[in-house]
Symmetry: C2
Subunit: 377 residues, 2 copies
């Protein structure tokens, strides 16, 4: 069993941000699994998506040395000893991004410029900024070149951005359930979620901490919307269908729970609102909105990806309607236009966007064989 | 030009509702276009969807006799002199459903039992209840049998329900962009919209009128969510894509509008919150959730539709992901299992669910030829 230990690194030098401003000093939370080899050539960086952290794999121990309940990392099915990304071979790094609420410097922490909690004053960070911050952590760890950078969804965008920002530091990029940018519909869902948060009377322009409240109503709605887009219509029908809440007859009520799916969504919303920070939600959805490497090339993704020299594994899932296979195929096409070395798998999986976090035998086997046959040094 | 005149009819006899309760006395708003023939055989009833009313066709005149700006009925492209449903031939009736905020008795009106505004005390009404109320209006107009009943989306559910509740009073049913029931995902979207409204601090359990406020924040979010589901991904990309709000550079802001699509959605939300009633929104989305004629037959739609003796025209739109063509095909299959007479058109249209309200030449021509060749008496 892989035991994980969160670590933190402090950076004194300011980080210039894409928006033109900078962060004065900051901390990054991270975890590592496996052993860095002598020539430091076996490092794999894992980038996280909206609702995740540096705790990618393994479990935590409590003070008595017992395994903490439900403390598995968010990609524990994928990463660990003997797993598709095998920590017997690879030195895997999980990192928490700037602006998060899980340890790295973010809006819930003190702004050194004012001595107050950042709140809405935390600067807007982009995928490009995150990758720059990640590169600094690698510098500090003495890792010049990554065997692979890997991520799903927003994490896949970071992996793609690595190949453009630091082409000579990435040998392989593994981009799962991702897209070269958001569609109008993707942005629309993000915007509704943000409006739910921002118009919650407890949001106070993002300075809720000063008022001793939390905009939980808005966070609940945001999470419910998000959750619908993570699942496929099919899996929702299979899991919940039109089932009434167990043991009930129809109540004929507009405000009470009638259907199982309602109960499930409310539960997900409530849970999320207890641990996630509203300003972080805004920041991360904006990072998604802004990501668009082709924009500097008049929308020509092939031109944008000319810089990328890494080899690629790209994976998409047939029922993912948030980041559909067609979006990954745009990346595939742009890489092929540049005659890059790539493997692409479109996995027939019923679970929608969520599939990238689940244990699907074909998906696991594609990643495993890519790491064994291509990444292994 | 068709000039429309809203009318209202009062009903003294209580209406028993599906929930077990009843409405004591009520008014129904309606409009009629064209002339009822001598044997009263040319009546076409139009049923409305979520955000519509009895004002189906024509325009209103102001007090000076001039045409009111933007007063066209919601299906004015479809219904009128020389239009697909030709008011030279047919006597068309538009009716506003119980629970609405556009004229018929609903939660914004006085509850005769208490002398106060109904608010959340307005009883839950279902598609079945609406059809029963519509039948009473027909009774009062002396119309025993409808040449056709017609509706899109939730209106199509009412048309379908007419053929089951009053099979001998309907000769044709025109069911457009509809479904035999909601999927879990459909219910999920409704539920998020309802939660946004119900958790708005200005909602006050549905008795906001007593507090002199309106839950506009919630209504805005509800409408934004709805709007996303009415449009196709393609039409959103074509109309808005990733365009920044005109003339702007990226502002790097989490709370301001950056993209055109955000501006559009906020506008739609603001507009809706000015005129739509929150309790009505809850009632109508619940009527959608509950509609499921197959449920009394263990989910067997073919068994449920055995009662329907009407002839059918069914229409769906290829890019409608709210009520996809597959859902209409379920109805088609169930009717064919009963060897019913039906026509089915799947229109290749880019506009998503909204297509049923738009003027598409093929769609218009399908409806026109059905009414000319099959419905005309």
């Amino acid at each position: 069993m892989l035991i994980a230990t969160p670590q933190s690194m402090h950076f004194e030098a300011p980080l210039a941000l894409q928006s033109g401003t900078s962060i004065r000093a900051y901390d990054l939370s991270y975890e590592t699994y496996g052993t860095l080899n002598a020539d430091k050539s076996n490092a794999v960086l894992i980038c996280h998506a909206l609702n995740a952290s540096h705790h990618v794999a393994g479990v935590y121990l409590d003070e008595a040395g017992a395994v903490k309940q439900r403390s598995e990392g968010w990609w524990d099915t994928m990463i660990g000893p003997g797993k598709p990304v095998d920590t017997h071979q690879f030195f895997v790094i999980g990192i928490n991004n700037l602006g998060s609420c899980f340890g790295s410097t973010g809006p819930m922490q003190i702004n050194p410029a004012t001595g107050e909690i950042y709140g809405a004053d935390f600067p807007v960070v982009t995928v490009q900024d995150w990758v720059n911050a990640q590169a600094r952590l690698l510098d500090a760890l003495g890792i010049q070149s990554l065997a692979a950078v890997m991520g799903g969804s927003l994490g896949g965008m970071q992996a793609l951005s690595w190949t453009l920002q630091y082409p000579d530091r990435v040998r392989h990029a593994v981009v799962v359930a991702s897209a070269p940018n958001l569609t109008a519909e993707n942005i629309a869902f993000n915007e509704v979620a943000r409006r739910a948060i921002v118009t919650d009377p407890d949001f106070h322009g993002g300075h809720y901490a000063r008022h001793g409240v939390l905009p939980k109503r808005g966070l609940r709605i945001a999470r419910m919307i998000g959750h619908i887009t993570y699942l496929s219509d099919d899996v929702m029908n299979e899991k919940f269908g039109r089932k009434l809440r167990s043991g009930q007859d129809v109540k004929f009520s507009t405000q009470d729970v009638e259907f199982e799916i309602e109960s499930y969504l409310r539960y997900q919303g409530d849970k999320f609102a207890e641990y996630f920070d509203a300003n972080t939600y805004l920041l991360i959805t904006r990072a998604l909105d802004y990501f668009d490497p082709a924009s500097a090339y008049g929308g020509d993704l092939s031109a944008a990806l000319a810089k990328a020299t890494a080899k690629f594994l790209l994976v998409s899932f047939t029922t993912d309607w948030r980041f559909s296979p067609a979006r990954t195929r745009e990346i595939v096409k742009a890489l092929l236009d540049n005659q890059r070395d790539l493997s692409y798998a479109e996995i027939d999986a019923p679970h929608g966007h969520d599939a990238f976090l689940l244990e699907d035998a074909r998906y696991m086997s594609v990643v495993r064989s890519y790491f064994q046959s291509k990444v292994a040094v």
